[in-house]
Amino acid sequence: MNHGENKTGKKTLSRRQLLQAGSVAAGAALLPMPAIIGRAYALDAKDAFKGEELTVCAWSGGYLDSFKTAISDPFNEKYGTKISLVGGWDQMVAQMKAAPAGKPPFDITISEEYTTLGALSEGLYAKTDRSKLPQLADLQPFFLTARPESARDYGVPLGLGFSLPLLNTALTADKPLSWSSMWDKDLEGKLALDAGAYWWLIAISAIWGAKKDFQAFYEWKPKMASDPIFEAVERLRPAKYYKDGAELSFLMLQEQASFAQIYSADALGLVQNGGATFKTGIPADGTVAYGDWYIKVKGTQHDALADAFLGYLLEKETQDRFIQVQMSVMSRKDVTVPAFWHNYPKTNEDLVKNVRLMTMQGLEQLLPNFDAMGERFQQAVLKTSKG
């Protein structure tokens, strides 16, 4: 009989055993904690989030498919979660606003500058603790500095989306990818332009049609004595103003247009479906961009998982996979750029030089005249549309 047993034969715990048992229990309880703060080993995080659901909103169409194959499916596989994807364009703010408190329509949403501006002014987003995201140090500074300081606490940047020119050389003479081509005589009546998010078109026209910088676009006012931006828009003679990606695909594949203003979210799919004669990329004269940020929605019931997902978006492997299936410019400095990407801005200097981001500050300046700009655009469509 040792000293740890009493005389009646009943087993009692020694102080050492008690401490050991306590340590094991505490260790087991702490094991999933790293996952919660976003720095977990896969096995621990898998235990923490297994079976948990998270709804993520990303751009509708081809982008959503790419997001699923390159990001949400591998995340589910790694962590045993159930990520549901929903598609959206410009209705996210309305959806979040209309949802009952504590029941947002999605836990995380994609959010470019215009969406972010609206959602932040309505208090629809939740902050992300940047100190828990060491991956932020591996991003190009351009991504963070482009947003005002007050907005940087909300979400993380996955990459940049672009407004790009798309040329079908089977229907028109081959020419260098450039926005200035839109005003070429031989493309009159052969352009497909965006009617929905028209401000991208107007921004392009501001720079490449009217030879003004973005400031002229932000400072646009109705009934200006001189309105070179809209005069440039009105010089364009489109075949069609399209209203969504599906309509654009239809127009291009049905040969209704030979040059289009497209979004990078649709670019790769269109080029792959269209064949060798379809040409796109960042034009030599640069382009207009929007930030693909992912932000937590206020009221999410899956805060820890949402943080883990945001951290996952910034991982090198994640971004390497995504750029293989999407024509995005990723936020990390060290992504492996695929061969199809011409003129990829690899350095921060390239980004500053070639990418003209429509900034939140600029849009804020434009917003008081936003409705008037929409009405002016409708007048331009009336003048230039064939229908």
């Binding site: 002014s121 103003y241 229908g387």
Partner: protein
């Protein structure tokens, strides 16, 4: 005692056992108030709010949105276009539905059943499928263009997608079945011998049509016209997908204000005006129908 008087006490017993009429209406009434009345009130309230730059709405009591909707040239043009396309569609649809219904009415046997099955067809297809179908039909690489070229009627591809014609065809297709059955139900109540009698008395087919059949069927025509007009006024996707770029209708403007510009109060004001136009049009059609005395049917 007659058979009828035998039945009467039994009926009374049933009547006594059943709840009184107002109670029977209650479930429907509650449903209408909750499902339609409450959102409608919310919509009306929203239309008086203000839209801050960058935001969605702030609570207020202002008539500014209605002033914009009812005075701004762009908005008046949108209202005008919506009414115009709805009127054209309603006329085209009612004419097509009437002649088809008249043919079916005069048919008997298997042919009638076959034609009725065809008439039901468009009702079974969703709006999205209708749009996709017509979008395969109208473009320069579509079925219509190939058919015309194959038949030697043209040597160049023909594109009708993105025209008002395509929009009217698509819109008509959506409401034609409903109009057809409205008209057919009225025609079925007309004694076909009246047409024979008219012919026997020496009336030409055209005179019989205009002076006998048409007046007797005017109730069905009015109902069908109202249906087609109301449907078309509220349709967004078909007009958008098949019509020209400049065919902005009120439903399109509502979606633009609601989602793209995030101006909910303006979207609500346009919606209220749209509802008012539909209500006035429906009442106007009914008034015209009853203006010269009671309907024949």
């Amino acid at each position: 005692m007659t058979a009828e008087t035998d039945i009467l006490p039994t009926r009374s017993k049933f009547s006594a056992a059943l709840p009184s009429l107002p109670w029977l209406i209650m479930p429907t009434l509650v449903f209408i108030v909750v499902a339609f009345g409450w959102p409608l009130l919310y919509l009306v309230r929203m239309s008086f709010n203000e839209h801050p730059a960058g935001g969605i709405y702030v609570e207020a009591w202002t008539l500014k949105n209605y002033l914009v909707v009812l005075t701004e040239p762009n908005m008046l043009s949108v209202i005008g276009k919506t009414i115009y396309i709805s009127l054209v569609t309603a006329i085209v649809t009612v004419v097509a539905a009437f002649f088809f219904a008249q043919y079916v009415w005069l048919c008997d046997g298997h042919n009638r059943i076959l034609l009725l099955a065809i008439a039901i067809g468009p009702m079974l297809i969703s709006e999205v499928s209708v749009i996709i179908g017509w979008r395969m039909f109208f473009p320069s690489n579509g079925l219509l263009s190939y058919t015309l070229m194959s038949a030697g009627l043209t040597d160049q591809k023909v594109n009708l997608l993105g025209t008002e014609l395509a929009a009217v065809v698509g819109l008509s297709y959506i409401s034609v079945s409903y109009c057809f059955f409205s008209i057919l139900s009225v025609l079925n109540g007309i004694d076909r011998n009246l047409l024979t009698a008219s012919a026997d008395l020496g009336a030409s087919p055209a005179r019989t049509f205009f002076t006998v059949l048409l007046p007797l069927a005017k109730g069905g025509i009015a109902a069908a016209f109202t249906q087609a007009f109301v449907f078309t006024m509220g349709i967004y996707a078909t007009t958008n997908a098949l019509g020209p770029d400049s065919l902005w209708t009120m439903p399109y403007e509502i979606q633009l204000q609601m989602l793209t510009r995030r101006n909910w109060p303006m979207a609500a004001a346009i919606a209220v005006v749209l509802i008012a136009i539909i209500a006035v049009a429906a009442m106007g059609i009914q008034w015209l129908r009853h203006r010269k005395g009671a309907s024949h049917v």
